[in-house]
Symmetry: D2
Subunit: 164 residues, 4 copies
Amino acid sequence: MPLPIIGVMGPGDQAAAPTIEQSYQLGYLIGQRGWVVLSGGRNVGVMEAVSRGAKDANGLVVGILPDGDRSRLSPFVDIAIVTDLGNARNNINVLSSDIVVALEGGMGTLSEVALALKSGKPVLLLNWSDAARTWLVSASPLITIVSTPEEAVTQVAHILDSTF
Amino acid sequence: MPLPIIGVMGPGDQAAAPTIEQSYQLGYLIGQRGWVVLSGGRNVGVMEAVSRGAKDANGLVVGILPDGDRSRLSPFVDIAIVTDLGNARNNINVLSSDIVVALEGGMGTLSEVALALKSGKPVLLLNWSDAARTWLVSASPLITIVSTPEEAVTQVAHILDSTF
Amino acid sequence: MPLPIIGVMGPGDQAAAPTIEQSYQLGYLIGQRGWVVLSGGRNVGVMEAVSRGAKDANGLVVGILPDGDRSRLSPFVDIAIVTDLGNARNNINVLSSDIVVALEGGMGTLSEVALALKSGKPVLLLNWSDAARTWLVSASPLITIVSTPEEAVTQVAHILDSTF
Amino acid sequence: MPLPIIGVMGPGDQAAAPTIEQSYQLGYLIGQRGWVVLSGGRNVGVMEAVSRGAKDANGLVVGILPDGDRSRLSPFVDIAIVTDLGNARNNINVLSSDIVVALEGGMGTLSEVALALKSGKPVLLLNWSDAARTWLVSASPLITIVSTPEEAVTQVAHILDSTF
């Protein structure tokens, strides 16, 4: 049986300090539960923070790199998947995840939310602006709004329980 | 010199009649100008209508199929690119286009808008809901709102002139 | 109806002068017949030569770039498909071609031959070494050995006639 | 630090009994050493056997599926990467592997060997026919011929030692 994979998506270079802090906590809580954390694999922003958090909880971390080698890999990734697909790898991020947790970021993160919903994946939005989440919630029943990493993980557990 | 390519994105199976009509007109006007029309290549919705319009104006039509063969190809496509990439082909749609015109659709179309903006492509939004376009316009300076196919083509000409 | 697409694959930077000359002739003859030439799109080696040949015969040229932009595009390409997929775009090259003509090159070309055969595409080998073609012919009934660009184009016509 | 990943490539449906047995042993020996086994992820042929072997040795198994869901996933895979890329995922298999071990198979396996060599990855050929390996060895210095799973794992250890 494959392990449950929780994809965490969010900004890279542009991530603000509170977003980094939440990502770290999210990674820690996911790792503690024994679920695999999946991120975009690079050594910046949400990708780095969620990986670091999961490692601190002895979790297993998968990084799906857009690059053709490991030169920008986060040191907290255990399993590096090297795709060389650029942004086309965003679709792999969401297809490989049982559930996607997205922190508001730029257009890369939005593309992941859209691709996840297109493929019928449950999506948790953590700390998105009102304008963004109001529209997205109206567009898809697969979205759940959460306010904290703890609430995200509670919802993940609930969805995993009802799916498997 | 490569030909200018105008990507037209929008709903497939779920396209409403006015959207189909606008897509046809858009294809016709793009074909008339001598620009290449690029779509997702399938024989439904906006993909089919924009291709049909362009052919009626003797335009050249490129279809970027998500499938591994041509079984669902629109008969109005001249150049069929068979990707077998599923939704990952959405990134090819936008990277290959000089400008993207998007009619409001589902999550596939939203992913294309997001991926286009992520890669710095100009995006024209044609007939999107207020909620959607308000948020997107606030998120990126690369977006222009247009109300008709004629206005879209005028904007495309303006952007092409200032770019080349 | 989509136009017939003939994919021509072969070495980039490492192409020898006779290979370049044959690629040019192949492109010219394909263009003359009114078929579309498809190549890897870059401005070197077989990609450049086959595109130049096809343009000199007023043919239509499609280039499937591995890159994320057009900075290395051959100036003889009409339709530039920007994939940003690296070598994963090799699979698109062969899936989009009705027939693949391969000039012996390096491992990129070999991967295209293998992917073409895997997907059931007819493959013409032009000027491969004895060791390579003996083994490949024994491995697949889809391969035809040809000795000149003229012979390649005669075979292409024969295969297109029997397929369509 | 990412874990060392050993990619094992070979036939799916067409795998002969001795190939299955060797794949199982290879998976077992790789798992015993604490390296990650990477395969194409499906529940047939070499993909299934190498995964089963690695699990029997308490190894960690990554499967890179060509499909858009897990319906054909081997039950012995721990981390399922769902690509929906068809054969384009072959490039991810090799880019993500530190070393590729290939058992002679069909054209899919040959494409993986070619893509691995194109990207500079060390490739071990296990039980390929004379004609195939003679030609491949002459074409690339990155190839090592091995005769048994034990010899393959000894070579892997040697290459990992000299690389890291």
